[in-house]
Assembly symmetry: C2
Homo-oligomer: 331 residues x 2
């Protein structure tokens, strides 16, 4: 197993990305290829002894966060994210991890590896921690407008992923809408509801915004516009809460005492809602394995994303997904 | 000033609704008309002495939460929500408050009072507390599909409302999208961006999900599908957090001590994120004043919603909105 890590992508690249990759080698017993500017990657390794599980692939360019993905990829043939997917295409790597420009990661994946059979639109599956375990929110930003059949394919792919990589048997699938009745929602959602109802997925019907963090279902399907807003709202709320809790508690004597005593527990609960736990969002529907990590990923987030990718490969999720897409179609 | 309160609408109606209305009479010095089944309303008043500021309007029927709004309104001519808006139409009341079926409240408002000139689609404006003061999220559920011109009208109406009722001078308006660049988002959002840019509103451009609770802008415009998901996600998160905090803290000795000392501060911060503070969501774009309250509204939420309605009437928001809609059009 060899994972290609885009060492140049992310707010803290290459330092924390390289750190997370090195930790993954130690903890998961896998090989990694660090893709990026060799001199900078070497500096990030900071004099660590050579490790036969770590290899390098030099490239000169990087797609920056603010660049237009398609334009940048056309111009920069030697960009790290593109080279990383080339390594998968040529059989030198089994998966790609990147905390860089997510649009470019998606575009490079589709350009290089292509779409799976039966998938019209690849999607990004966000994994969110809840009180009752992780839920998969799909799509979180790849497709702003979706046809009902796209939404249905998202549900099929996420079911295979959740069963194989998150250990959720027969995952419950909900369709995000603005009311639980099947008549609620916009036209795409109402038509998608029909497709899900006829399928052999474990479909529980429409769910609402409040269900995203309740953990009542395992998978929530929505278009990439709604999913992206929901994902970023959750992230923003976790950040705001840390600040508010501290300020409220610091405002009174008893509060300060409570903060002193309970700091660990309080921050533990904030961490539980944080994206670090699963590290990244798998790109579902491409002919290969790719994980999109948060731009601000810590070393731990990178390592955890690599862990998900390893399970994705080991559990043959692509094969299972292809099979489920075929079965679902024939229903 | 007389406010018609739908005494029969809401999970805790008529008891808590009547309680909130009575509190509003005392604290705000206004008159209210309790609209509903007189016997049940009287029971909810629980032997309180007669008050010349409180009047009654008996009606037999109520639209229940699970009913289809339009069907129910067609059938039930004497439903409390319909009768309440009739009182505004006939000049016996200045505003309506309801914690009942929100679809029926919206439909009854439009049927009875009609739309304002220059407004194609009335919208529900959610008021969310943030660290830096309230923000208005519009629309939170009236319109699942919106044209760019609808989104623009939402921004104009919310600006007039925020300036007059929330005391925010020249409110900053953001358009909810999935990236800050104007090229991001779906087609409606990109076209609405152009309309906002050309207007004289204080438009700051696209904002993302994380900005909903950051308080970076005062108004966030989106379609009713996205807004409803975001609003319910926020509510769900506040509820989940209360449970998680308590459980995490109860799990350790220091945590239990912290909870004992800091309970007030911790719950104060959760309340700050709660909808009770502003009590209800104004219905913007109808020819009159209507507030939609959360089904689970407490007496305090009802009272606070009445307070917003009173400011809406006193500050002549309808006139200002009409003027702004005309000016905006001629830009």
């Amino acid at each position: 197993m060899n994972v290609a890590v885009d060492a140049m992508g992310g707010d803290y690249a290459p330092e924390l990305v390289v750190q997370g990759a090195v930790d993954a080698v130690t903890e998961l017993g896998i090989n990694i290829t660090l893709v990026g500017h060799e001199k900078r990657v070497m500096e990030a390794l900071n004099g660590r002894p050579a490790d036969r599980h770590i290899s390098f692939h030099h490239c000169e360019e990087v797609v920056r966060m603010e660049e237009s993905p398609l334009k940048a990829l056309r111009k920069k043939k030697d960009a790290s994210i593109r080279v990383a997917f080339d390594l998968v295409k040529s059989g030198h790597a089994d998966a790609v991890i990147s905390a860089g420009n997510s649009g470019a990661t998606l575009a490079a994946a589709v350009m290089t590896l292509g779409r799976m059979e039966g998938v019209d639109r690849p999607a990004i599956a966000g994994i969110l921690p809840t009180e009752r375990g992780p839920i998969v929110l799909i799509d979180v930003g790849a497709n702003v407008d979706c046809r009902p059949s796209h939404l249905f394919q998202f549900g099929v792919m996420a079911s295979a992923f959740a069963a194989s990589c998150l250990g959720i048997k027969n995952p419950m699938v909900g369709l995000l809408s603005i009311g639980e009745e099947e008549s609620k929602g916009n036209e795409q959602v109402r038509l998608a509801h029909e497709l899900f109802t006829k399928s052999d997925l474990n479909f529980v019907g429409n769910v609402e915004g409040r269900d995203i963090l309740s953990g009542r279902v395992n998978i929530i399907v929505c278009d990439g516009f709604v999913g992206n807003v929901a994902l970023k709202l959750t992230e923003g709320m976790v950040a705001a809460l840390g600040r508010i809790i501290e300020r409220e508690l610091m405002g009174s004597f008893l509060g300060r005492a409570a903060l002193m005593l309970g700091r660990d527990s309080i921050y533990k609960f904030l961490r539980r809602l944080d994206y670090e736990e699963y590290g990244g969002a798998p790109l579902l529907g491409i002919n290969g394995v790719g994980m999109i990590c948060h731009g601000g990923s810590s070393a731990k987030a990178i390592k955890n994303a690599i862990n998900i990718a390893v399970q994705y490969v080991n559990n043959r999720v692509l094969e299972k997904m292809t099979l489920q897409l075929k079965t679902a179609k024939s229903c």
